[in-house]
Amino acid sequence: MTVPAAALLSVRGLVKRFPGVTALGGVDFDVRAGEVHCLLGQNGAGKSTLIKVLSGAHRPDEGEIRWRGEVVSFGNPTAAMRSGVAAIYQELDLVAGLSVADNVFLGHELSTAGFTRRAEARRRTRALLDRLGHPDIAPDRDVGRLSVAHQQVVSMARALSLDGQLLIMDEPSAVLDPDEVRVLFGIIRELTAQGVAVVYISHRLAEIREIGDRVTVLKDGRTVATGLPAREVRTAELIALMTGRDIDNVYPDRPPVDPAAPEVLVVRGLTDGDRFRDVDLTVRAGEVVGLAGLVGSGRSEIVETVYGARKRVGGTVEVDGRPLRRGGVGPAVRAGMGLCPEERKSQGLLLDQAVYRNITMSSMSSFARFGFLDDRAERTRSAALTAALDVRPAGVDRVVRGLSGGNQQKVVLARWLLRECRVLLLDEPTRGVDVGARNEIYELIRELATRGVAVVVVSSDVEEVLGLADRVLVVREGRVVHDGPADEIDESRVLDLVMEGHAA
């Protein structure tokens, strides 16, 4: 391996251990000025940990980091920032309650003698957001009230405001829609043209081909390949490097839905008086229905309202022909509905509890006799599920907080797989999930469907919706603008529908 003198950052033999886990077991790679260096690896491979070490948020146990040829140790994030390393973390770490502008300049506030220059901060934030294609986000808004996608944009604005030499992005595209990804790529190109280096993490191989220059693959905390040319290397090779096995067929076969199958979920004229109106949705037993649309189009709100987690102002929801009472989540759960929420950290998980307890949370009564829980049965069933979903590291007694983002997502999925639902609502089920596991999740969804479950999948990945679903609904600004079989529509048509009226 030849290390050109131009290497901005070079990493050798990096090791980071957590209690009970070695997250990084020897990582080597180099980043050159002006390149987009992609990091690939399965969930739990150590990508996020590597980022945190590079940005000073974690201190490595062993190994050497050279910055512009000199050995450095970033004891804390400030030191890294001063050197010109800026990071966007996977778990958006913004402060709800503070405004967008405050978040952008948090830690490097614009100030005179300790007093914040608020107008200046607002103005610069405005400029950064415009540059990111989001004039719609007001710098004064409380970040906690923005959608996940918009929060991601704020994180990017924050990273840009640091004016770094190295920009690290941990799955920035996971919550963005195609349109926004395009804007993001535009900015990345602009930056690299100025000599800024970008480390880019994504589970979407297509993106890597589009934006990446070189690829480093991590597996189980080690570098298994580095410096691969992003445009030339074969997909199958990458997947084999990441997973150690071959995965060819991403989307499982779709057996035709029995037209006589009972309509399990029937939604008529659903309205929440705010975000969407008059939504009709019917899902038969064994059918997978996909909801496509732009981020912010109201898909999450639709499924949350169907589930009873948001207030239903008008319309009816029926499960197996029985109308659902209003009044919270209870009736929906009792009727056999399940929801995988969009934000796993704040809506889905008990971060400080064991994996198995998170999994059995919605099916506790099936493990209980007279209210007493059978711990052992809970563990056994959970272990079976985590094995099936390949949650790593294995071990149902682990605390969820210590799992990587993708593995946390799998834990939420396992919860509803365990509770054999009649209707399963999945909001971005594969966000942050790696190729291998993604495949397994698709298989599981399909298997559930064949067992007669009615499945609704919300996804910002149009390809995924088309590949996975039997029927596709396109949502635009709170209205369903298309409802038809998935094989009668293609990606560009969906994008057209989605963007219509949007100044893309």
Partner: protein
């Protein structure tokens, strides 16, 4: 500054891994394991007692005295463990104890009890305590008043009510049988201590072995996730406060038995004592993590502390200073040792 621990002082502290617990052996084993620091602190304290007060400390009567002292506040603290684990807080426990004790010892209640059975007094206290807890719970869960404020209001109101009912007089109990029952011993163990033990064991089982307990952790750890997982967070919250109210009612009965009186001054500062015992035991004040065994140790540490001080005839001021220091040492010990045994 070590980076992986730098994050949140208060929140990361004491996060021991979920131990594998199975059966009674597991109960003891895991309780001791996770509470090594507390056990060590208690043992040190006892060693201090033996060294400074010799036989007077290591006497069975003295141990029973400590346990009897621990019993009343112990029962309240067990209930408090549930509420705090469930993400709440209750400042009104002392006032509820006072109100229950007063209500259960009014002339009317005592008259009824004399006419029928002393158990009437017990039921009255439990009912009053439970009702107060219910009010707290409804205010907090459905009225959406912050727990701190809601129970602060209850504190004022319940004590005022207790004063009005008792006319600020100490009400002496003279129902036959009542004192006799609670003064008795079972195999040498005073009834009050037996009650405390039963509540502790019951509380442990409820928190660690039942769906109710599991929901408590969920509600305290991430209420939004609990709600989306189909748990009725508000109803559960009401149940938690009601449970604590019941514990306060029971504590009132025990206090009546101990002092032979009901009074509006009973239970002074119980809120601080109970919360301190719970938190020193390792339950997170922010919810989602709670341990009954830790709470029991916490209560024992505080009562043993005051016993050792008294045996040594220390001045109250010096006691206060020493108490502050010992609390900090106990917590630091617990943290260091729990982390070691955890990893």
């Amino acid at each position: 500054m070590s980076e992986d621990t730098a994050a949140v002082p208060a929140r990361t502290q004491g996060r021991a891994p979920a131990a594998k617990e199975t059966g009674i052996a597991g109960l003891l084993g895991s309780a001791a394991g996770r509470n090594t620091g507390l056990v060590v602190a208690l043992v040190l304290l006892c060693a201090g007692g033996v060294v400074t007060a010799g036989d007077r400390f290591a006497d069975i009567d003295n141990v029973l005295t400590i346990l009897r002292l621990a019993a009343v506040i112990g029962v309240v603290s067990i209930g408090m463990t549930f509420v705090i684990t469930g993400g709440g807080i209750d400042l009104s426990v002392g006032a509820i104890v006072a109100l229950s004790s007063v209500w259960a010892t009014t002339l009317a209640t005592q008259g009824m009890a004399t006419g029928t059975h002393w158990i009437v007094m017990v039921f009255t206290a439990l009912l009053v305590g439970g009702a107060c807890g219910l009010v707290n719970g409804v205010l907090i869960a459905y009225g959406r008043v912050v727990a701190f404020i809601a129970t602060l209001a209850s504190l004022a109101a319940a004590r005022g009510l207790a004063e009005i009912i008792s006319n600020r007089k100490t009400q002496i109990v003279n129902v036959p049988g009542f004192a006799a029952f609670f003064d008795a011993s079972v195999l040498g163990v005073p009834v009050l201590v037996v009650i405390f033990a039963l509540v502790a064991v019951g509380g442990w089982v409820l928190l660690n072995r039942t769906t109710f307990g599991r929901r408590t952790f969920a509600v305290g750890g991430n209420p939004e996730a609990a709600r989306l997982a189909g748990i009725d967070v508000r109803r559960h919250t009401v149940m938690l406060y009601s449970l604590l109210g019941l514990c306060c009612g029971l504590a009132a009965v025990m206090l009546i038995a101990r002092t032979t009186t009901g009074s509006a001054t009973h239970g002074g500062l119980y809120e601080l004592d109970a919360i301190a015992a719970v938190v020193i035991g390792g339950t997170l004040l922010s919810g989602g993590r709670g341990t009954i065994a830790g709470t029991v140790f916490g209560v024992l540490i505080f009562t043993t502390l005051s016993n050792v001080f008294t045996l040594n005839n220390l001045s109250i001021s010096a006691q206060a200073v020493a108490k502050g220091a010992i609390i900090v040492v106990a917590v630091l010990l617990q943290q260091r040792l729990a982390r070691r045994s955890g990893a």
